[in-house]
């Protein structure tokens, strides 16, 4: 997904940035409950292909594609997330790599979606649409960080045993977080495919799962601002340092190694966020008045 970025001007960069932010958030909400997923490109692929089939093969409008992607995101997220709850940490990372690899092979052999050649004809993603979706997720996270579920997620991440002793249900909370992450990745897939016009299985390889990890690691795992920050900086940086374009992946690698060595909590750690919000006085996230439906079922209505 990164390859075409250097060729086309501004608009595509903006859209890729939006997609990257959503992918980063999708990964972040999983890691926020202590679940390390390295297979989010699988959910992205499911969303991209499902919506692609809906808009290209069935000739239905894009909002239906979004609905389909949300649905498939919930289903695949639950299917992967439910058994995956038995395993954690590095084991979960490997299991999700396994899922991603198997799905990759499936799409490479599935004739209906063009197998190795890929599927084309998807269009409709605009900058406005992308950032509409990003904004909805942004409101969702703002709301979440002060909600019961948000605090529960925080509790589960820091100490699962203590959380369950306090009457929380870690299994349920982790499952919800995993499914939301899967849905977000799936929606990112829809935006991506309907901008790219063409998708093939190799667009959704392991590297596509690893970029969001970098974004989050670079920004910070501690809060969703960090994830967005990482996605924005790491998408824009190679654009503005043109001579680095050829070395962008080396730059990514070196940056990650450096950040991990010097500041393993990421750039925008929670202490930075609270310092910034104190600086702006009344603008603390808790003041956000507009409640938003907690379910991820929103973005479908936003398409134009």
């Amino acid at each position: 997904m990164e390859a075409l970025q250097g060729l086309v001007p501004e608009k595509s960069v903006l859209i890729f940035m939006g997609v990257n932010i959503i992918m980063a958030w999708g990964f972040w909400i999983m890691i926020a409950t202590g679940q390390l997923s390295l297979g989010n490109s699988a959910f992205m692929a499911m969303g991209a292909y499902t919506a692609g089939v809906i808009t290209v093969k069935l000739k239905l409008p894009l909002p239906v594609g979004f609905l389909g992607a949300i649905l498939i995101g919930v289903v695949t997220g639950a299917i992967v997330g439910w058994p995956a709850l038995r395993i954690r940490g590095i084991y979960l990372a490997m299991a999700t790599i396994g899922v991603e690899e198997v799905l990759q092979i499936f799409f490479k052999n599935f004739e209906y979606t063009g197998a190795n050649v890929g599927l084309n004809g998807m269009r409709g993603t605009t900058v406005e649409l992308t950032y509409g979706v990003v904004f909805i997720f942004f409101l969702f996270f703002l709301r979440l960080s002060n909600s019961r579920l948000g605090h529960a997620m925080e509790a589960v991440r820091s100490d699962e045993v203590a959380a369950s002793a306090m009457g929380l249900n870690p299994t349920y909370i982790k499952m919800v977080a995993f499914t939301i992450g899967a849905v977000m990745s799936s929606i990112a897939g829809v935006l991506y495919s309907h901008f790219m016009f063409f998708i093939a299985p190799e667009h959704f390889g392991i590297m596509t799962s690893i970029y969001p990890v970098f974004f989050v690691a670079f920004g910070s795992v501690q809060n969703f601002w960090g994830a967005a920050f990482g996605a924005i900086i790491l998408t824009l940086l190679p654009e503005y340092i043109r001579f680095m374009a050829e070395w962008r992946i080396v730059l990514y690698g070196v940056l990650i190694v450096l950040v991990m060595a010097v500041r393993p909590q990421g750039i925008i750690s929670s202490s930075v966020v609270s310092r910034i919000s104190r600086f702006f006085g009344g603008l603390a996230p808790s003041r956000q008045p507009q409640p938003v439906a907690a379910g991820p079922g929103e973005p479908g209505q936003n398409s134009s």
């Binding site: 038995r86 590095i90 198997v102």
Partner: protein
């Protein structure tokens, strides 16, 4: 029977790479994502020695092992020693970054396409009954077996091996008992990388080319092999490699080539779900979950 030989060959290569993952994982509980690319780099060192320096294959072997050992040393230095211990994820992510740098630099030097290796081993085919075995195959098997036996000896009989086992069991207690933990960890990185380098040159010999992308294909499968055999368990990695190699070759031979990878990955998922400690997992690995 022919397939069994092929499976053994492929399997022993997976084993060599998986052992590297497992050594580091056993000691540090750290998934070294750069390992697959150290393995890939071994093939390119071999290419450099054989093609540019025109030296014999033995030098290529030593070069690949030493070169990858040095790479492992650097890896430990930048991705592990400098990172604070309380962030569990940080070193693993650091190794991911490191692997990107290794792949990119390799493709900058040698290009993104696989490069053919000059013929370096005289290929003689031995006919035993129905079996056809080439000298390359014999070389691969022999090197793999010798290296694994040497490693087994190192772990069980030497001072360093004892130190490794002590650090794996409990780093704090090991340090209290006078084990130099830092040196032991460096040794584990260097040894695992040198083994990966050897596996890299074996793969290059088998395929006849050095490919910058094997880190992701073979490297990832070796990761699965490690998990199947039992995380942090060296014998488990050996066994897992043979099983996966066999399974893959047999699926290709009697089933369909497209689905040989599916066997590997579904095997991994099944193992993780039903016996997360792996086939030969011990109590130690169970507790680490």
């Amino acid at each position: 029977m022919q397939q069994v030989i092929n499976g053994l060959m492929l399997g022993s290569m997976y084993s060599l790479v998986a052992i590297g993952y497992t050594l580091v994982f056993g000691l540090l509980n750290l998934l070294n994502f750069a390992h697959g690319d150290v393995f890939m780099f071994g093939g390119f060192i071999a290419l450099f020695v054989l093609l540019s320096l025109k030296l014999p294959i033995l030098v290529a072997f030593i070069g690949a092992m030493v070169g990858c050992g040095i790479l492992g040393f650097i890896l430990e230095l930048v991705c592990f020693r400098t990172v604070k211990k309380e962030y569990h994820l940080a070193p693993a992510l650091g190794t991911l970054g490191f692997s990107l740098v290794v792949i990119e630099l390799t493709t900058k030097v040698w290009g993104t396409e696989p490069v053919s290796l000059p013929p370096s081993v005289e290929v003689i085919n031995f006919q035993i009954g129905d079996l056809l075995i080439s000298s390359v195959q014999i070389l691969i098997l022999a090197v793999a077996i010798v290296l694994m036996a040497a490693l087994e000896f190192l772990i069980l009989k030497t001072r360093l091996g004892r130190a490794m086992r002590a650090v794996a069991e409990d780093p704090t207690v090991a340090k209290l008992l006078g084990v130099n933990a830092v040196r032991t960890i460096v040794a584990a990185f260097v040894i695992s990388s040198a083994l990966a380098g050897a596996a890299g040159i074996l793969l290059a010999l088998r395929l006849g080319l050095a490919n910058p992308h094997v880190g992701f294909t073979y490297g990832m499968k070796a990761l699965a092999v490690m998990a199947i055999g039992g995380l942090g368990n060296v014998r488990g990695a050996m066994l897992g490699g043979l099983i996966i190699g066999m399974a893959e070759v047999l699926t290709v031979a009697y089933g369909s080539a497209t689905y040989s990878d599916v066997v590997v990955w579904t095997g991994l998922i099944a193992i993780l779900l039903f016996k997360p400690s792996g086939l030969l997992g011990t109590k130690l690995q169970e507790e680490r979950r």
